[in-house]
Protein backbone atom coordinates (compact mmCIF):
# COMPACT_ATOMS: atom_id res chain seq x y z
CA UNK A 1 0.00 0.00 0.00
CA UNK A 2 1.36 3.39 -0.98
CA UNK A 3 1.67 5.84 1.89
CA UNK A 4 -1.35 8.10 2.00
CA UNK A 5 -3.59 5.90 -0.05
CA UNK A 6 -5.06 5.03 3.33
CA UNK A 7 -6.19 8.63 3.76
CA UNK A 8 -7.86 8.59 0.35
CA UNK A 9 -9.62 5.33 1.12
CA UNK A 10 -10.62 6.31 4.63
CA UNK A 11 -11.93 9.77 3.73
CA UNK A 12 -15.34 8.51 2.70
CA UNK A 13 -15.56 6.03 5.58
CA UNK A 14 -17.31 8.28 8.13
CA UNK A 15 -19.93 9.12 5.54
CA UNK A 16 -20.41 5.48 4.55
CA UNK A 17 -20.84 4.44 8.18
CA UNK A 18 -23.19 7.35 8.81
CA UNK A 19 -25.28 6.56 5.71
CA UNK A 20 -25.62 2.91 6.62
CA UNK A 21 -26.60 3.72 10.19
CA UNK A 22 -28.97 6.59 9.55
CA UNK A 23 -30.25 6.12 5.99
CA UNK A 24 -30.18 2.37 5.29
CA UNK A 25 -31.08 1.10 8.77
CA UNK A 26 -34.07 3.44 9.19
CA UNK A 27 -35.46 2.30 5.84
CA UNK A 28 -34.96 -1.32 6.88
CA UNK A 29 -36.92 -0.49 10.02
CA UNK A 30 -39.77 0.88 7.89
CA UNK A 31 -39.83 -2.40 5.98
CA UNK A 32 -39.59 -4.41 9.21
CA UNK A 33 -42.46 -2.54 10.84
CA UNK A 34 -44.56 -2.75 7.65
CA UNK A 35 -44.32 -6.54 7.68
CA UNK A 36 -44.77 -7.23 11.40
CA UNK A 37 -47.55 -6.86 13.92
CA UNK A 38 -47.32 -5.22 17.36
CA UNK A 39 -45.62 -8.27 18.80
CA UNK A 40 -42.99 -8.51 16.06
CA UNK A 41 -44.59 -11.46 14.23
CA UNK A 42 -44.36 -11.54 10.45
CA UNK A 43 -47.59 -10.55 8.74
CA UNK A 44 -49.04 -9.15 5.52
CA UNK A 45 -52.03 -7.70 7.36
CA UNK A 46 -50.66 -4.15 7.46
CA UNK A 47 -50.31 -4.04 3.71
CA UNK A 48 -53.55 -5.82 2.86
CA UNK A 49 -55.35 -3.66 5.44
CA UNK A 50 -54.40 -0.58 3.44
CA UNK A 51 -57.35 -1.04 1.10
CA UNK A 52 -59.24 1.10 3.66
CA UNK A 53 -57.06 3.97 2.54
CA UNK A 54 -57.68 3.59 -1.21
CA UNK A 55 -59.69 6.81 -1.32
CA UNK A 56 -57.01 8.65 0.63
CA UNK A 57 -54.42 7.56 -1.90
CA UNK A 58 -56.60 8.55 -4.87
CA UNK A 59 -57.44 11.93 -3.32
CA UNK A 60 -53.79 12.70 -2.52
CA UNK A 61 -52.55 11.67 -5.94
CA UNK A 62 -55.34 13.71 -7.56
CA UNK A 63 -54.60 16.85 -5.52
CA UNK A 64 -50.86 16.55 -6.10
CA UNK A 65 -51.36 16.01 -9.84
CA UNK A 66 -53.63 19.03 -10.20
CA UNK A 67 -51.22 21.20 -8.19
CA UNK A 68 -48.27 19.99 -10.29
CA UNK A 69 -50.01 20.63 -13.62
CA UNK A 70 -51.18 24.11 -12.57
CA UNK A 71 -47.67 24.92 -11.30
CA UNK A 72 -46.25 23.83 -14.64
CA UNK A 73 -48.80 25.88 -16.61
CA UNK A 74 -48.13 28.99 -14.50
CA UNK A 75 -44.43 28.40 -13.96
CA UNK A 76 -43.23 27.56 -17.45
CA UNK A 77 -44.29 30.88 -19.05
CA UNK A 78 -43.02 32.70 -15.97
CA UNK A 79 -39.59 31.08 -16.26
CA UNK A 80 -39.57 31.86 -20.00
CA UNK A 81 -40.49 35.51 -19.51
CA UNK A 82 -37.93 35.92 -16.73
CA UNK A 83 -35.20 34.43 -18.92
CA UNK A 84 -36.02 36.99 -21.62
CA UNK A 85 -35.67 40.10 -19.44
CA UNK A 86 -32.39 42.03 -19.32
CA UNK A 87 -29.64 40.66 -17.04
CA UNK A 88 -29.90 43.13 -14.13
CA UNK A 89 -33.65 42.68 -13.87
CA UNK A 90 -33.23 38.94 -14.25
CA UNK A 91 -30.99 38.80 -11.20
CA UNK A 92 -33.59 40.59 -9.07
CA UNK A 93 -36.46 38.45 -10.36
CA UNK A 94 -34.53 35.24 -9.62
CA UNK A 95 -33.85 36.53 -6.12
CA UNK A 96 -37.57 37.18 -5.70
CA UNK A 97 -38.40 33.65 -6.87
CA UNK A 98 -35.89 32.24 -4.40
CA UNK A 99 -37.08 34.35 -1.49
CA UNK A 100 -40.24 32.29 -0.80
CA UNK A 101 -38.14 29.10 -0.91
CA UNK A 102 -36.19 30.42 2.05
CA UNK A 103 -39.27 31.31 4.04
CA UNK A 104 -40.55 28.43 6.07
CA UNK A 105 -43.40 26.47 4.54
CA UNK A 106 -45.43 26.78 7.73
CA UNK A 107 -45.22 30.55 7.58
CA UNK A 108 -46.27 30.72 3.95
CA UNK A 109 -49.18 28.35 4.48
CA UNK A 110 -50.20 30.26 7.58
CA UNK A 111 -50.08 33.58 5.74
CA UNK A 112 -52.27 32.18 2.99
CA UNK A 113 -54.68 30.92 5.62
CA UNK A 114 -54.89 34.37 7.18
CA UNK A 115 -56.19 35.60 3.82
CA UNK A 116 -58.64 32.78 3.12
CA UNK A 117 -59.94 32.20 6.63
CA UNK A 118 -63.56 32.88 7.54
CA UNK A 119 -62.44 35.85 9.61
CA UNK A 120 -59.65 36.60 7.12
CA UNK A 121 -58.91 39.57 4.92
CA UNK A 122 -60.76 38.43 1.78
CA UNK A 123 -63.97 37.70 3.63
CA UNK A 124 -63.57 40.96 5.54
CA UNK A 125 -63.30 42.87 2.30
CA UNK A 126 -66.30 41.04 0.85
CA UNK A 127 -68.34 42.04 3.90
CA UNK A 128 -67.37 45.70 3.68
CA UNK A 129 -68.64 45.68 0.12
CA UNK A 130 -71.89 44.20 1.34
CA UNK A 131 -71.28 40.75 -0.12
CA UNK A 132 -71.70 37.52 1.75
CA UNK A 133 -68.75 35.54 3.05
CA UNK A 134 -67.34 32.69 1.01
CA UNK A 135 -66.21 29.55 2.78
CA UNK A 136 -62.72 28.90 1.46
CA UNK A 137 -60.76 27.15 4.22
CA UNK A 138 -62.00 23.57 4.30
CA UNK A 139 -62.56 23.24 0.55
CA UNK A 140 -60.48 21.15 -1.81
CA UNK A 141 -59.76 24.33 -3.79
CA UNK A 142 -58.02 25.89 -0.79
CA UNK A 143 -55.82 22.82 -0.25
CA UNK A 144 -54.78 22.71 -3.91
CA UNK A 145 -54.24 26.47 -3.91
CA UNK A 146 -52.00 26.03 -0.87
CA UNK A 147 -49.91 23.43 -2.68
CA UNK A 148 -49.60 25.66 -5.74
CA UNK A 149 -48.74 28.70 -3.66
CA UNK A 150 -46.16 26.87 -1.56
CA UNK A 151 -44.41 24.95 -4.31
CA UNK A 152 -44.62 27.18 -7.40
CA UNK A 153 -41.07 28.57 -6.91
CA UNK A 154 -39.73 25.00 -6.96
CA UNK A 155 -41.21 24.61 -10.45
CA UNK A 156 -39.99 27.94 -11.78
CA UNK A 157 -36.38 27.80 -10.62
CA UNK A 158 -35.19 24.57 -12.28
CA UNK A 159 -36.99 25.49 -15.52
CA UNK A 160 -35.45 28.94 -15.44
CA UNK A 161 -32.00 27.41 -14.81
CA UNK A 162 -32.16 25.18 -17.90
CA UNK A 163 -33.56 28.07 -19.95
CA UNK A 164 -30.79 30.46 -19.00
CA UNK A 165 -28.19 27.83 -19.86
CA UNK A 166 -29.80 27.26 -23.26
CA UNK A 167 -27.49 28.15 -26.13
CA UNK A 168 -28.98 31.28 -27.78
CA UNK A 169 -27.52 30.20 -31.13
CA UNK A 170 -30.06 27.37 -31.39
CA UNK A 171 -32.84 29.94 -31.27
CA UNK A 172 -31.12 32.16 -33.81
CA UNK A 173 -30.58 29.18 -36.08
CA UNK A 174 -34.25 28.24 -35.85
CA UNK A 175 -35.27 31.77 -36.83
CA UNK A 176 -32.78 31.72 -39.71
CA UNK A 177 -34.25 28.47 -40.93
CA UNK A 178 -37.68 30.08 -41.11
CA UNK A 179 -39.36 29.25 -37.80
CA UNK A 180 -41.82 31.75 -36.39
CA UNK A 181 -42.03 32.62 -32.68
CA UNK A 182 -44.43 29.82 -31.85
CA UNK A 183 -42.37 27.23 -33.69
CA UNK A 184 -39.20 28.35 -31.94
CA UNK A 185 -40.85 27.83 -28.58
CA UNK A 186 -42.48 24.52 -29.39
CA UNK A 187 -39.65 23.00 -31.42
CA UNK A 188 -36.52 24.41 -29.80
CA UNK A 189 -37.09 25.90 -26.35
CA UNK A 190 -39.53 23.29 -25.03
CA UNK A 191 -37.61 20.14 -26.01
CA UNK A 192 -34.36 21.59 -24.68
CA UNK A 193 -35.86 22.49 -21.31
CA UNK A 194 -37.34 19.05 -20.59
CA UNK A 195 -34.74 18.27 -17.86
CA UNK A 196 -35.74 21.42 -16.00
CA UNK A 197 -39.42 20.57 -16.35
CA UNK A 198 -38.80 17.07 -15.01
CA UNK A 199 -36.97 18.27 -11.92
CA UNK A 200 -39.62 20.95 -11.45
CA UNK A 201 -42.38 18.34 -11.58
CA UNK A 202 -40.52 16.20 -9.04
CA UNK A 203 -39.95 19.09 -6.71
CA UNK A 204 -43.64 20.00 -6.72
CA UNK A 205 -45.23 16.56 -6.85
CA UNK A 206 -43.25 14.86 -4.07
CA UNK A 207 -43.89 17.46 -1.35
CA UNK A 208 -47.50 17.91 -2.52
CA UNK A 209 -48.34 14.24 -2.24
CA UNK A 210 -46.74 13.89 1.18
CA UNK A 211 -47.86 17.13 2.83
CA UNK A 212 -49.86 17.21 6.01
CA UNK A 213 -49.54 20.80 7.21
CA UNK A 214 -51.26 22.28 4.15
CA UNK A 215 -54.23 19.96 4.42
CA UNK A 216 -54.44 20.49 8.19
CA UNK A 217 -54.47 24.28 7.91
CA UNK A 218 -56.27 24.92 4.63
CA UNK A 219 -58.37 21.77 4.60
CA UNK A 220 -59.74 22.60 8.02
CA UNK A 221 -59.63 18.94 9.02
CA UNK A 222 -62.08 17.86 6.32
CA UNK A 223 -59.46 16.26 4.10
CA UNK A 224 -57.37 13.28 4.91
CA UNK A 225 -54.37 13.03 2.64
CA UNK A 226 -51.64 10.37 2.76
CA UNK A 227 -49.44 12.70 4.79
CA UNK A 228 -52.18 13.27 7.38
CA UNK A 229 -52.82 9.56 7.62
CA UNK A 230 -49.14 8.73 8.15
CA UNK A 231 -48.74 11.52 10.68
CA UNK A 232 -51.72 10.28 12.69
CA UNK A 233 -50.45 6.67 12.76
CA UNK A 234 -47.21 7.80 14.36
CA UNK A 235 -48.87 9.59 17.24
CA UNK A 236 -49.69 6.27 18.82
CA UNK A 237 -47.33 3.34 19.19
CA UNK A 238 -50.04 0.78 18.38
CA UNK A 239 -50.45 2.04 14.82
CA UNK A 240 -46.73 2.34 13.96
CA UNK A 241 -47.01 -0.76 11.79
CA UNK A 242 -49.85 0.62 9.68
CA UNK A 243 -47.98 3.93 9.38
CA UNK A 244 -44.86 2.12 8.24
CA UNK A 245 -46.86 0.19 5.65
CA UNK A 246 -48.39 3.38 4.20
CA UNK A 247 -44.96 5.07 4.18
CA UNK A 248 -43.46 2.08 2.40
CA UNK A 249 -46.14 2.11 -0.30
CA UNK A 250 -45.78 5.85 -0.82
CA UNK A 251 -41.99 5.61 -0.97
CA UNK A 252 -42.09 2.78 -3.52
CA UNK A 253 -44.62 4.66 -5.67
CA UNK A 254 -42.54 7.83 -5.65
CA UNK A 255 -39.22 6.07 -6.30
CA UNK A 256 -40.74 4.21 -9.25
CA UNK A 257 -42.17 7.38 -10.76
CA UNK A 258 -38.86 9.19 -10.22
CA UNK A 259 -36.99 6.37 -11.96
CA UNK A 260 -39.43 6.47 -14.89
CA UNK A 261 -39.15 10.23 -15.20
CA UNK A 262 -35.36 10.19 -15.02
CA UNK A 263 -35.36 7.80 -17.98
CA UNK A 264 -36.91 10.65 -19.96
CA UNK A 265 -34.53 13.27 -18.68
CA UNK A 266 -31.30 11.25 -18.96
CA UNK A 267 -29.28 13.74 -16.98
CA UNK A 268 -27.84 13.44 -13.52
CA UNK A 269 -27.99 17.14 -12.86
CA UNK A 270 -30.08 18.12 -9.90
CA UNK A 271 -32.07 20.92 -11.50
CA UNK A 272 -31.68 24.19 -9.72
CA UNK A 273 -31.93 23.51 -6.02
CA UNK A 274 -28.51 24.96 -5.48
CA UNK A 275 -27.93 28.29 -7.05
Amino acid sequence: MKPGSFFKKAAAAPHIIWSVMFIVFPLLFVIYFAFTDNYGNFTFDNLTGLSVYTNTFILSIGFALIATVVCLLIGYPLAYFISRTDPTKQKILVLLIMLPMWINLLIRTYSLMSLLDNGGLINGLLQTFGLSKIKMVGTSGAVILGMIYDFLPYMVLPIYTTMSKLDKRYIEAAYDLGCNNRQVISKVVMPLTVPGVISGITMVFVPSISTFYISQKLGGGTFDLIGDTIERQFQNEITYNTGAAISLIMMVLILISLAVMNKFADSDEEGGIIV
Binding site: P14, I107, G119
Partner: protein, 272 residues
Protein backbone atom coordinates in the same frame (compact mmCIF):
# COMPACT_ATOMS: atom_id res chain seq x y z
CA UNK B 1 -45.99 40.87 -26.15
CA UNK B 2 -43.39 42.57 -24.00
CA UNK B 3 -46.07 44.41 -22.02
CA UNK B 4 -48.10 41.24 -21.61
CA UNK B 5 -45.12 39.33 -20.27
CA UNK B 6 -44.38 42.15 -17.83
CA UNK B 7 -47.96 42.16 -16.58
CA UNK B 8 -47.78 38.39 -16.19
CA UNK B 9 -44.55 38.52 -14.18
CA UNK B 10 -45.91 41.34 -12.01
CA UNK B 11 -49.18 39.51 -11.37
CA UNK B 12 -47.55 36.24 -10.31
CA UNK B 13 -45.10 38.00 -8.02
CA UNK B 14 -47.92 40.03 -6.54
CA UNK B 15 -49.88 36.86 -5.74
CA UNK B 16 -46.74 35.20 -4.38
CA UNK B 17 -45.99 37.98 -1.93
CA UNK B 18 -49.43 39.36 -1.11
CA UNK B 19 -50.15 36.92 1.75
CA UNK B 20 -46.76 37.54 3.37
CA UNK B 21 -47.14 41.31 3.09
CA UNK B 22 -50.63 41.15 4.60
CA UNK B 23 -49.25 39.05 7.44
CA UNK B 24 -46.45 41.56 8.06
CA UNK B 25 -48.85 44.53 8.01
CA UNK B 26 -51.27 42.94 10.45
CA UNK B 27 -48.47 41.96 12.81
CA UNK B 28 -48.33 45.68 13.68
CA UNK B 29 -52.08 45.88 14.27
CA UNK B 30 -53.36 47.09 17.66
CA UNK B 31 -56.46 44.95 17.60
CA UNK B 32 -56.49 41.20 17.16
CA UNK B 33 -58.01 41.16 13.70
CA UNK B 34 -56.98 40.33 10.17
CA UNK B 35 -59.68 42.45 8.58
CA UNK B 36 -59.47 45.86 10.20
CA UNK B 37 -56.28 47.75 10.79
CA UNK B 38 -57.00 49.65 14.01
CA UNK B 39 -53.66 51.27 14.62
CA UNK B 40 -49.93 50.76 14.76
CA UNK B 41 -48.51 48.91 17.73
CA UNK B 42 -45.74 46.57 18.72
CA UNK B 43 -47.76 44.70 21.30
CA UNK B 44 -47.59 41.33 19.48
CA UNK B 45 -43.83 41.68 19.24
CA UNK B 46 -43.65 42.46 22.95
CA UNK B 47 -45.81 39.42 23.68
CA UNK B 48 -43.51 37.27 21.55
CA UNK B 49 -40.37 38.40 23.34
CA UNK B 50 -41.96 37.75 26.71
CA UNK B 51 -42.59 34.15 25.65
CA UNK B 52 -39.67 32.18 27.08
CA UNK B 53 -40.64 29.10 25.01
CA UNK B 54 -40.10 31.09 21.82
CA UNK B 55 -36.68 32.30 22.95
CA UNK B 56 -35.70 28.76 23.92
CA UNK B 57 -36.90 27.49 20.52
CA UNK B 58 -34.76 30.08 18.77
CA UNK B 59 -31.72 28.99 20.80
CA UNK B 60 -32.39 25.34 20.01
CA UNK B 61 -32.78 26.12 16.30
CA UNK B 62 -29.52 28.05 16.14
CA UNK B 63 -27.63 25.41 18.14
CA UNK B 64 -28.92 22.69 15.84
CA UNK B 65 -28.26 24.62 12.62
CA UNK B 66 -24.68 25.47 13.62
CA UNK B 67 -23.67 22.03 14.92
CA UNK B 68 -25.46 19.95 12.28
CA UNK B 69 -24.15 22.04 9.37
CA UNK B 70 -20.58 21.92 10.70
CA UNK B 71 -20.64 18.16 11.27
CA UNK B 72 -22.28 17.57 7.87
CA UNK B 73 -19.72 19.79 6.15
CA UNK B 74 -16.75 17.95 7.67
CA UNK B 75 -18.12 14.48 6.95
CA UNK B 76 -19.48 15.53 3.55
CA UNK B 77 -16.29 17.22 2.33
CA UNK B 78 -14.18 14.21 3.31
CA UNK B 79 -16.74 11.97 1.63
CA UNK B 80 -16.68 14.02 -1.59
CA UNK B 81 -12.87 13.74 -1.60
CA UNK B 82 -13.04 9.99 -1.03
CA UNK B 83 -15.78 9.46 -3.62
CA UNK B 84 -13.88 11.50 -6.20
CA UNK B 85 -10.73 9.42 -5.72
CA UNK B 86 -12.60 6.12 -5.67
CA UNK B 87 -11.72 3.76 -8.54
CA UNK B 88 -14.33 1.09 -7.88
CA UNK B 89 -17.22 2.32 -10.04
CA UNK B 90 -19.86 0.05 -8.53
CA UNK B 91 -19.04 1.12 -4.99
CA UNK B 92 -19.01 4.75 -6.10
CA UNK B 93 -22.44 4.41 -7.71
CA UNK B 94 -23.84 2.63 -4.66
CA UNK B 95 -22.58 5.31 -2.27
CA UNK B 96 -23.97 8.08 -4.47
CA UNK B 97 -27.39 6.43 -4.69
CA UNK B 98 -27.63 5.87 -0.94
CA UNK B 99 -26.52 9.45 -0.34
CA UNK B 100 -29.30 10.73 -2.59
CA UNK B 101 -32.06 8.79 -0.82
CA UNK B 102 -32.94 11.53 1.71
CA UNK B 103 -33.13 14.02 -1.16
CA UNK B 104 -35.45 11.90 -3.28
CA UNK B 105 -37.62 10.53 -0.51
CA UNK B 106 -40.49 12.64 0.77
CA UNK B 107 -39.45 14.28 4.06
CA UNK B 108 -42.23 12.52 5.89
CA UNK B 109 -40.77 9.10 5.03
CA UNK B 110 -37.28 10.17 6.10
CA UNK B 111 -38.74 11.50 9.34
CA UNK B 112 -40.80 8.42 10.03
CA UNK B 113 -37.94 6.03 9.23
CA UNK B 114 -35.55 7.82 11.59
CA UNK B 115 -38.18 7.93 14.30
CA UNK B 116 -38.61 4.15 14.06
CA UNK B 117 -34.84 3.69 14.31
CA UNK B 118 -34.55 5.92 17.39
CA UNK B 119 -37.54 4.38 19.10
CA UNK B 120 -36.20 0.89 18.45
CA UNK B 121 -32.71 1.85 19.63
CA UNK B 122 -34.25 3.44 22.69
CA UNK B 123 -36.08 0.30 23.67
CA UNK B 124 -33.05 -1.92 22.96
CA UNK B 125 -30.75 0.29 25.04
CA UNK B 126 -33.45 0.89 27.67
CA UNK B 127 -33.24 4.64 27.34
CA UNK B 128 -35.94 6.61 29.09
CA UNK B 129 -35.99 9.18 26.29
CA UNK B 130 -35.15 8.04 22.78
CA UNK B 131 -36.14 11.30 21.07
CA UNK B 132 -34.74 14.75 21.78
CA UNK B 133 -31.61 16.79 21.21
CA UNK B 134 -29.39 13.91 20.07
CA UNK B 135 -31.93 12.37 17.69
CA UNK B 136 -32.59 15.82 16.21
CA UNK B 137 -28.88 16.43 15.69
CA UNK B 138 -28.40 13.06 13.99
CA UNK B 139 -31.43 13.60 11.76
CA UNK B 140 -30.32 17.08 10.72
CA UNK B 141 -26.78 15.92 9.90
CA UNK B 142 -28.29 13.09 7.84
CA UNK B 143 -30.51 15.23 5.66
CA UNK B 144 -27.77 17.88 5.29
CA UNK B 145 -25.10 15.43 4.10
CA UNK B 146 -26.35 14.91 0.51
CA UNK B 147 -26.54 18.66 -0.05
CA UNK B 148 -22.99 19.21 1.18
CA UNK B 149 -21.68 16.39 -1.01
CA UNK B 150 -23.68 17.74 -3.95
CA UNK B 151 -22.01 21.13 -3.63
CA UNK B 152 -18.46 19.86 -2.98
CA UNK B 153 -18.18 16.87 -5.32
CA UNK B 154 -18.36 18.89 -8.59
CA UNK B 155 -15.52 21.12 -7.34
CA UNK B 156 -13.29 18.05 -6.86
CA UNK B 157 -14.19 16.90 -10.36
CA UNK B 158 -13.32 20.30 -11.84
CA UNK B 159 -9.97 20.39 -10.04
CA UNK B 160 -6.80 19.99 -12.07
CA UNK B 161 -5.30 16.65 -10.91
CA UNK B 162 -1.82 17.91 -11.80
CA UNK B 163 -1.98 20.32 -8.88
CA UNK B 164 -2.06 17.58 -6.26
CA UNK B 165 0.50 15.55 -8.20
CA UNK B 166 2.81 18.56 -8.20
CA UNK B 167 2.36 18.98 -4.45
CA UNK B 168 3.20 15.31 -3.89
CA UNK B 169 6.27 15.62 -6.14
CA UNK B 170 7.42 18.61 -4.14
CA UNK B 171 7.39 16.49 -1.01
CA UNK B 172 3.97 17.04 0.55
CA UNK B 173 2.42 14.07 2.30
CA UNK B 174 -1.07 13.18 0.96
CA UNK B 175 -2.60 14.66 4.11
CA UNK B 176 -0.66 17.88 3.62
CA UNK B 177 -1.71 17.90 -0.03
CA UNK B 178 -5.32 17.60 1.01
CA UNK B 179 -5.16 20.53 3.42
CA UNK B 180 -2.84 22.78 1.39
CA UNK B 181 -3.94 22.13 -2.19
CA UNK B 182 -7.17 20.19 -2.51
CA UNK B 183 -9.20 21.78 0.27
CA UNK B 184 -8.40 25.38 -0.73
CA UNK B 185 -9.36 24.69 -4.34
CA UNK B 186 -12.79 23.29 -3.39
CA UNK B 187 -13.40 25.89 -0.68
CA UNK B 188 -16.18 27.70 -2.57
CA UNK B 189 -18.15 24.45 -2.72
CA UNK B 190 -17.50 23.76 0.96
CA UNK B 191 -18.74 27.21 1.96
CA UNK B 192 -21.88 27.02 -0.16
CA UNK B 193 -22.54 23.51 1.19
CA UNK B 194 -22.16 24.79 4.73
CA UNK B 195 -24.54 27.68 4.13
CA UNK B 196 -27.07 25.44 2.43
CA UNK B 197 -26.91 22.95 5.31
CA UNK B 198 -27.32 25.75 7.83
CA UNK B 199 -30.45 27.12 6.18
CA UNK B 200 -31.95 23.67 5.55
CA UNK B 201 -31.51 22.80 9.21
CA UNK B 202 -33.01 26.09 10.35
CA UNK B 203 -35.96 25.60 8.00
CA UNK B 204 -36.77 21.95 8.55
CA UNK B 205 -40.13 21.10 10.01
CA UNK B 206 -41.33 17.74 8.71
CA UNK B 207 -38.36 15.55 9.72
CA UNK B 208 -37.97 17.39 13.03
CA UNK B 209 -41.66 16.89 13.74
CA UNK B 210 -41.10 13.13 13.94
CA UNK B 211 -37.74 12.91 15.72
CA UNK B 212 -38.16 15.63 18.34
CA UNK B 213 -39.59 15.49 21.82
CA UNK B 214 -41.67 18.16 23.59
CA UNK B 215 -38.60 19.25 25.58
CA UNK B 216 -36.52 20.00 22.51
CA UNK B 217 -38.56 22.34 20.33
CA UNK B 218 -37.11 24.27 17.39
CA UNK B 219 -38.56 27.43 15.87
CA UNK B 220 -40.58 25.71 13.09
CA UNK B 221 -41.94 23.21 15.65
CA UNK B 222 -42.86 26.11 17.91
CA UNK B 223 -44.74 27.79 15.05
CA UNK B 224 -46.50 24.50 14.37
CA UNK B 225 -47.58 24.08 18.00
CA UNK B 226 -48.73 27.67 18.25
CA UNK B 227 -50.75 27.64 15.04
CA UNK B 228 -52.37 24.28 15.74
CA UNK B 229 -55.58 25.61 17.20
CA UNK B 230 -56.34 29.29 16.87
CA UNK B 231 -55.04 32.39 15.17
CA UNK B 232 -52.20 33.81 17.20
CA UNK B 233 -51.10 37.33 16.42
CA UNK B 234 -47.74 36.92 18.11
CA UNK B 235 -47.10 34.32 15.39
CA UNK B 236 -47.69 37.04 12.81
CA UNK B 237 -44.91 38.97 14.54
CA UNK B 238 -42.58 35.96 14.62
CA UNK B 239 -43.25 35.20 10.94
CA UNK B 240 -42.52 38.82 10.02
CA UNK B 241 -39.21 38.72 11.91
CA UNK B 242 -38.21 35.47 10.18
CA UNK B 243 -39.12 36.81 6.73
CA UNK B 244 -37.17 40.01 7.39
CA UNK B 245 -34.16 37.98 8.55
CA UNK B 246 -34.31 35.81 5.42
CA UNK B 247 -34.53 38.88 3.22
CA UNK B 248 -31.51 40.52 4.86
CA UNK B 249 -29.52 37.28 4.68
CA UNK B 250 -30.34 36.77 1.01
CA UNK B 251 -29.36 40.32 0.10
CA UNK B 252 -26.17 39.97 2.13
CA UNK B 253 -25.19 36.74 0.41
CA UNK B 254 -25.80 38.33 -2.96
CA UNK B 255 -23.67 41.34 -2.12
CA UNK B 256 -20.86 39.26 -0.64
CA UNK B 257 -21.10 36.85 -3.56
CA UNK B 258 -20.77 39.56 -6.19
CA UNK B 259 -17.93 41.10 -4.20
CA UNK B 260 -16.06 37.79 -4.21
CA UNK B 261 -16.59 37.44 -7.92
CA UNK B 262 -15.14 40.89 -8.51
CA UNK B 263 -12.11 40.05 -6.37
CA UNK B 264 -11.60 36.81 -8.22
CA UNK B 265 -11.78 38.45 -11.64
CA UNK B 266 -9.30 41.08 -10.47
CA UNK B 267 -6.90 38.40 -9.32
CA UNK B 268 -7.22 36.57 -12.63
CA UNK B 269 -6.41 39.77 -14.49
CA UNK B 270 -3.31 40.29 -12.32
CA UNK B 271 -2.14 36.74 -12.90
CA UNK B 272 -2.57 37.11 -16.62
Amino acid sequence: MKILSRIYIALIFFLLFAPIIVLAVFSFNTSGSTTQFAGLSFKWYAELFRDSVAIKALQNSLFLAVTSSLIATVIGTLAAFGIDKMRNRKLKGAIKSVTNIPMMNPDIVTGVSMMLLFVALGSILHLSESLGRTSMLIAHVTFNLPYVILSVLPKFKQMDPHLSEAALDLGCTPTQTFFRVELPSVMSGVVSGLMLAFTLSLDDFVISHFVSSPDFVTLPLYVYNQTAHEVKYSMYALCTIIVAAVLVLLLLINFVGSDNRKKKSKRVIKEV
